[in-house]
Symmetry: C2
Subunit: 329 residues, 2 copies
């Protein structure tokens, strides 16, 4: 395989000149650049990025840790992070933590050993200490782990407000919120905070049932509805679910048990990812997170941190959410 010396000889220039062309550094005349590029093309020369990464201490690889990459929300988020990062010549190393702290710790050391330039952390694990110890740019999704690391989130509080106000405007008087685990310091908990405050404002009774985030599958949510929610479901006429999959599982449970949706029970979800967009039987009422925008901002935030190392400012980004009226309210 051709190396940089072969290219220099073929182009009739020095190795330093070829290196300058490769790295777009220093002054190079148009003519010289043309000669070098021709020589590279003729020799089918492919610059060894690993060698350049070592030299420049930059790999142009971002690590992205998600709880489950087959979950429609995260697969869509990864897609948009990847598309946006590719435009800036960054690649994505994918890590599927399954929210297991041990698996995540292995990933973190693996990413660090591979000298990724930065990490996008979208996991829900309790253990954030391992991240704080890394000497790497990190951006988190929907989570504040330290004031050193910026976060990107959708406006969870506003989403909770809109969802609860929508149920109340539709006539609901006995409200339930099915949330994720509130013991984790996730920004998604603001949805539950807003739910409480809006119910208090309207002098309405409210209940919150906490789920687990360690398993985001439909099977888990179906069991969860049967075991944790079914017994008290007749007490409620409106349910705000913290994600669309649990909302659909609740819809199925209700209709299979003779409860008419939306006449007797109104259901609103959260996310509006590809599963919800495809589902038409029924179309769920839900709060749409702008997943494409979240992916773009995660990508641009981490790349800005990598490329402007001396910047001290931490830019958190909160993007807006939107009500999607469907057939379940």
């Amino acid at each position: 395989m051709a190396n940089i010396k072969n290219v220099a000889i073929r182009a009739g220039v020095s190795v330093t000149t070829v290196s300058r062309v490769l790295n777009s550094r220093g002054y190079i005349s148009k003519e010289t650049r043309r000669k070098v590029e021709e020589a590279m093309a003729e020799l089918n020369y492919s610059p060894n990025q690993i060698a350049r990464a070592l030299q420049k201490s930059q790999s142009h690889i971002l690590g992205m840790i998600v709880p489950d990459l087959n979950h429609p929300f995260f697969s869509e988020l990864i897609k948009h992070v990847e598309m946006s990062a590719t435009e800036k010549q960054y690649k994505i190393l994918i890590c599927n933590s399954l929210d297991q702290s041990e698996k995540e710790a292995n990933y973190i050391s693996m990413l660090s050993e591979n000298r990724v330039d930065g990490i996008i952390m979208c996991s829900h694990t309790l253990d954030v200490e391992a991240y704080k110890k890394l000497h790497l740019p990190i951006v988190t999704f929907d989570r504040i782990i330290s004031n050193q690391f910026p976060y990107v989130a959708s406006d969870n509080f506003r989403g909770g407000e809109i969802a609860t106000e929508h149920l109340i405007a539709a006539g609901c008087k006995r409200l339930l919120h099915i949330s994720g685990p509130l013991n984790l310091d996730l920004l998604a908990n603001r949805r539950a905070d807003a739910f409480k405050l809006i119910c208090l404002k309207h002098n309405l009774p409210y209940t919150i049932i906490e789920g687990l985030n360690s398993n985001l599958t439909f099977e888990y949510f179906t069991d969860f509805i049967e075991n944790e929610v079914a017994g008290s479901l007749s007490n409620f006429d409106g349910v705000f679910c913290s994600n669309d999959i649990v909302a659909y599982a609740l819809y199925l449970y209700a209709t299979e048990n003779g409860i008419k949706v939306p006449e007797q029970l109104k259901i609103i979800g959260y996310d509006f990812h590809s599963f919800t967009r495809m589902l038409k039987t029924p179309q769920l009422t839900t709060i749409a997170q702008p997943i494409k925008r979240l992916g773009k901002v995660l990508s641009s935030t981490i790349i800005d941190m990598i490329e402007n190392k001396d910047q001290d400012t931490i830019n958190n980004t909160v993007v807006d959410v939107e009500l999607m009226k469907g057939q379940t309210t």
Copy 2:
């Protein structure tokens, strides 16, 4: 940050000995290994994988090119490839080609420049020449691009047989198959081959309508049904769809237009990915591809090729499929 010399000094051994421990090469006594490992732990030493990759010409990174990583089939496939590769210390660089040849060509040169150890190719593009030029282990999914590269596929012919026989056994006499683009040399075309042969065997008329694969979204399939299928739908009493998303789009079109499923029209899909597993309204009848197993085999095939470089044998793998009886037949 600690380097290998610091570790050697702390452990009271030579740099060569530390290197042997890191690479599991040559004889090392238990006691020496313990001393080196303790020194590494005390110094928080993280071996620089990039430097080791250069030295060993191995990055332990696999490139994986998919048409759309948000598609439920591919996000599930990636998940299982990743989980399986991680067990063998390989990481996955994700490339989302959107089936655009130009985007894919950029990815291929990027992967080659980053010295990935191998590529898992799951795209549908026409252009396979770029892959053949690479001096890299490649495994393809559902596609034969050359007898130098092994492929992994589910038994598409068998899937087509089972689906068509199922429709005929349920009483269908006028059959339609909605397929992907048959001009591409994809193994999925065997589903259409089997459909034809089974109809011929039973002396039944049949029609095939070809779709495009460049866009796998629900919106595309909804438009496709309205523009390409709706006009002639009344001619058929059984439809074998080449994927579950088009099957669901067809179900929605039929029910919205007063055609009763399964009484007047029977529909069978293909894939049984996470979307189909979650969908209960209705539960689609479909052919299940064993996605977990496909992911595992893709991962083990490419890693075997990388680690046993002198092996000449090409091992193609075809895994079995299964009928999942739902409510649409």
